[in-house]
Symmetry: C2
Subunit: 336 residues, 2 copies
């Protein structure tokens, strides 16, 4: 086994060396890195941008450490309709915990959740939503929360597509993440979603490690519990990584200005402004426009959340690339 | 020129390929990676730890992505006496801005700073200190602040050593950072100091890029100014990355538990606990004990800041390695 592995390693090494010495390009350089993108304007714009910033001695060349690309998550990398996945998680958690909380049967917004009364839930407003989030996301250690999240993802299914939520990611965006990384980019998620709700699976699903995930968070506290150090999750908001919070979160975590930003809603407006409005240097901004009711969903100015309105207007002024999902994407989801 | 560079690239490629194919170790693997460390127990402990976690098929092997090492800055990577460098910066900024603030001549703590009255400054306490920090660190954009910081570092000199502060870093620790990175570790700074006070120079001095710097911060706000997006620094504390805040900051930024932590004071106690008290797996904790009044400073339980007291006791219980600066370090600072 050891010998066999070394032999294969050696053979691989020889091939790579020959390719390097004699200038052979590796096979995949010849194949299309973005096969799920139609040959329309957005694909051409992506490739043109990447070639510009990676061509040495070009005036637009950007050194590798500065090749930072930031991606919104909900609606940009995965499905956000008919409700944010994290809300689906919170509702399921309320149901799972209901037996331990008999008082919820008569208390809003929990009553609404248990009765499946979405109208009453909506009426509870932002305050009710925050109550739900705190009740289901706090008062446990960080390790415990990550286990709850992982367990939920293992069994939960999207009601329309009947697939695990982590499979309802956009195949063209997975290819884009890979393509950027293959060109020396460091890819970050910058999401309004909870940072600890994403970290258990972003590495496996998107190839984005935990230290490259930026998100909203609640406060945590260091406590020794049974002689072991733990981080305990408190029911208090720490940071909301949305709208003007996104550039703040980017600066706090990354400390560099990205050169490319990908979003799909008004919540991403400031992130795209921060990334692209630098006065001169080459930058890339992209909005995913959900136009495909048949294969996914169609919404923009007409939705309560994930609304794409001001950012769609700003895209024209700032020359951001707008993806028309229906026309520009050959595939939506990874094949099963 | 183009031909010459390609030729050199090719020659380098050949050498590398030959080394790979025939198993030659590169030359530096034979030389001591930690030449400024004496051959005493701490050096042996570091090398033994690194060998354990990097030896494949060993029970203690740690895959590269999990090889996270965290370093305190003040007193661990550079000098913190007779005052934190960031305080020296704040005092200089008060002096530089005094002409625009005639009222400071009669207002504490500014009066104390302008008169060089360190006793009165100390009497102003934590509240006075916070006033100084907010006055000198806020009410400007992040870009403006980074320029102020960079300009200050270019001209400021430590009064005792008469060297730029960025040269008063510990040569043995620079070697340690390099050694860990050469062994697949990702090195992070986790400091009580201001995150934006460090980022302008950590990459050049320590090889630690901005996205791997964790520190204290004030709140920032996204604002459009003259049609350009900016981050404006507000005079409000956002996060204090000290004591129990260090594990919180580590989790927020990195989202993985480090396997090695390096500190020098009680402010690092919780970070070392969080890193090492995991119940079984191999971890490494190290404290720098300042014992060398002649070449640097000598202090531990007897100082007002950078105090090493509880952590020194905890080091015995948790088997953390304690560096005796005088005995264990051959050199303190990089040669001029």
């Amino acid at each position: 086994m050891f010998v066999a592995r070394n032999f294969l390693g050696l053979a691989g090494g020889v091939a790579l060396c020959l390719a390097t010495l004699f200038g052979f390009a590796p096979a995949q350089a010849q194949t299309d890195p973005l096969p799920s993108w139609n040959d329309t304007a957005p694909k051409a714009a992506i490739v043109a941008f990447v070639e510009k910033v990676t061509t040495e001695n070009s005036p637009d060349f950007v050194p590798k450490p500065e090749r930072i690309a930031v991606f919104d998550n909900d609606g940009t990398l995965w499905v956000e309709h008919p409700m944010y996945t994290q809300l689906a998680f919170a509702l399921d958690r309320v149901k799972a915990e209901a037996a331990a909380h008999p008082e919820w049967k008569d208390t809003q917004p929990f009553k609404a959740v248990l009765e499946g009364d979405m109208k009453a839930l909506a009426a509870a407003g932002e305050k009710g939503l925050m109550q739900l989030m705190m009740e289901t996301h706090a008062d446990m250690t960080n390790d415990e929360f990550q286990k709850v999240v992982s367990d939920w993802f293992a069994s939960a299914r999207d009601p329309r597509f009947q697939r695990p939520y982590t499979q309802l990611v956009y195949q063209p965006m997975l290819e884009l993440l890979d393509y950027l990384r293959a060109n020396g980019f460091k890819t970050f998620i910058v999401s309004g979603g909870g940072i600890e709700f994403m970290r258990p699976w972003t590495e496996q699903v998107y190839g984005v490690p935990p230290e490259q995930v930026v998100g909203s968070s609640i406060k945590t506290q260091f406590v020794m519990r049974d002689g072991r150090p733990t981080l305990f999750r408190l029911p208090q908001v720490n940071f909301i990584d949305d709208k003007g919070g996104k550039p703040v979160g980017i600066n706090q975590h990354i400390g560099r200005r990205p050169i490319a930003a990908f979003g799909n809603s008004d919540g991403d407006l400031e992130m795209l402004q921060w990334t692209t409005m630098t006065g001169g240097s080459v930058r890339f901004g992209m909005l995913i426009h959900h136009t495909d009711a048949e294969r996914e969903y169609a919404y923009d100015r007409n939705t309560d959340f994930g609304r794409l309105d001001m950012a769609l207007d700003a895209a024209v002024i700032n020359e951001w690339t707008v993806v028309n999902m229906k026309a520009d994407w050959k595939e939506i989801f990874p094949r099963k």
